[in-house]
């Protein structure tokens, strides 16, 4: 993964046209809709071309909306329908046609990073100064659930990277005084643990899949998305989520929730690796740092493009700084928040 590859003149001049592409799309869609957020304690402005695009993607950021106060550290331009005036990459699509989200095409130069995901046909471009980005999709209302529940994932991860944060694969819950990072592969109980926290009003939700973590001696978790996802067959174990079900979204693959009361972030107090057991009550046991690193690092590194090789050392540093636990999940999900609160009081 060479970051040193320099871009020929073509991309730079093409990127310059993105601004015009967005403005033209915004005019056609009835004007730009501005969303002001605070992400990782920084002002972020998202400009949508038209209401439809804004409506489709703003729910995931409902908890981070903030009044316009200072110049944005990042401005994203988001539009659909009218394709950007640059072409998708060519000549490398012979091995396309796999399942999953399909292959992606990544390019970077001195002044940009760009990703095209042909399966959903989404294009993400971030300028190297990392204060401007562009996101194009064919139809804002037809994105797959993994895109509309965690919009602009690549753009935000590249930007956070430049700002000294790490976009990690994990859920997080806690209080303003501190919380836990919940790590593990899909199916390990990460989402269940995070979403069960809503059963106890003392705990606040910060995400079930992706959060940002600040480096430094006192690590801090920053929420990115207030969305949550569970398999429809697991819904009966989490009946308290029903009022939060996102309207109009099919339940075929995942049931989607938006938790508007989610917290923007908290100091990181512990890392928790859930494990599904046949116990009744949840129980936290001390875990090894290596097990926490193995649960956190590989999926953090491979979820995003390009794989973030430096994340392993960063995650190891994080794991050394806070206690790690195995959280044995039981059949009674109501005991999960109680056990997490007990752990946070230690």
């Amino acid at each position: 993964m060479s970051r040193a590859a320099t871009a020929p003149a073509g991309p730079a001049s093409t990127l310059a046209g993105l601004h015009d592409d967005f403005e033209r799309a915004a005019r056609a869609a009835g004007g730009a809709v501005d969303l002001r957020l605070r992400i990782a304690a920084r002002p972020v402005r998202i400009r949508f071309a038209g209401e439809a695009a804004a409506e489709a993607l703003r729910p995931a950021f409902a908890h981070l909306e903030a009044p316009e106060a200072e110049p944005p550290a990042l401005t994203l331009h988001v539009w659909d329908s009218e394709r950007p005036t640059f072409a998708p990459p060519r000549g490398v699509e012979a091995d396309a046609g796999t399942a999953g989200t399909g292959p992606s095409y990544y390019s970077e130069g001195e002044d940009f990073r760009a990703l095209h995901q042909p399966a959903s046909d989404v294009v993400s471009v971030l300028s190297a100064e990392a204060d401007r980005g562009w996101f194009w999709m064919p139809d804002a209302t037809a994105l797959p659930y993994w895109d509309y529940t965690a919009p602009f994932r690549h753009l935000l991860s590249w930007w956070l990277d430049a700002e000294g944060f790490r976009h990690v694969h994990g859920g997080a819950v806690g209080t303003a005084d501190g919380g836990v990072l919940i790590v593990g592969p899909g199916g390990s109980g990460k989402s269940t643990t995070a979403l069960a926290s809503l059963l106890d009003e003392r705990l606040r939700y910060a995400g079930d899949d992706y959060v940002a973590v600040g480096s430094g001696p006192a690590p801090v978790v920053h929420s990115l998305y207030c969305s949550g996802k569970v398999h429809p067959e697991d819904l009966h174990r989490l009946p308290h989520l029903e009022p939060l079900l996102a309207d109009g979204k099919p339940l075929d693959e995942k049931a989607v929730f938006y938790v508007e009361s989610a917290i923007a972030g908290f100091p990181l107090r512990a890392i928790v690796v859930p494990r599904v057991t046949d116990r009744r009550a949840a129980r936290a046991l001390p875990g090894t740092q290596a097990a926490a690193l193995a649960a956190l690092a590989p999926s953090t590194i491979f979820q995003l493009h390009p794989p973030a090789r430096e994340a392993l050392a960063q995650m190891a540093q994080l794991v050394r700084r806070v206690p790690t636990y195995v959280l044995e999940l039981g059949t009674d999900v109501e005991t999960i928040p109680t056990e997490l609160l007990r752990l946070l009081e230690r």
Partner: protein, 147 residues
């Protein structure tokens, strides 16, 4: 000339935490862990050791017959090579010197390489192609730019 082993950088990244090594192959998505004698062997390889120096490092920390230790070390190094995590190379010069282990030597147990392939699906199903050399993004032909 002696045969030494090297970590297969830059494809392989690794961290040692509480004496356990986590290894990640960035090309395949496979990740591995090594404990105890396995972690000691990895540390020796990371310092450019050959089989003799690896055996020396193990004998300073573990109690066991030389044959047993040599055989177990050879087996693990072969496996690391097969997995593409290390590569052998011919080299001159001095071999790394290992300090004696702290405290009493522990009984030797043959190490094993724990292998996890759950990330491979992600890599194989959703591969990422770098297209920087082709200069993407590039302007679309006029007929597509209007679409």
């Amino acid at each position: 000339m002696t045969t030494r082993f090297r970590v297969n950088s830059p494809n392989v990244i690794h961290e040692t935490i509480e004496g356990e090594v986590i290894l990640i192959d960035l090309k395949t998505g496979t990740y591995y862990s090594l404990r105890e004698a396995g972690a000691a062997i990895w540390e020796a390889i990371d310092r450019g050791a050959g089989l003799d120096a690896i055996e020396d490092a193990l004998e300073r920390r573990y109690e066991g017959s030389s044959d047993e230790i040599r055989e177990a070390a050879r087996r693990l190094v072969d496996e690391l090579e097969r997995e593409g995590l290390v590569r052998a190379e011919e080299a001159d010069g001095s071999r790394p010197v290992f300090e004696p282990g702290h405290g009493v030597r522990r009984p030797f147990e043959a190490p094993s390489l724990e292998k996890h392939t759950d990330m491979q699906d992600l890599i194989l199903l959703d591969p990422v192609h770098e297209v920087g050399a082709q200069g993407w993004p590039h302007p679309a032909p006029p007929d597509e730019a209007s679409g």
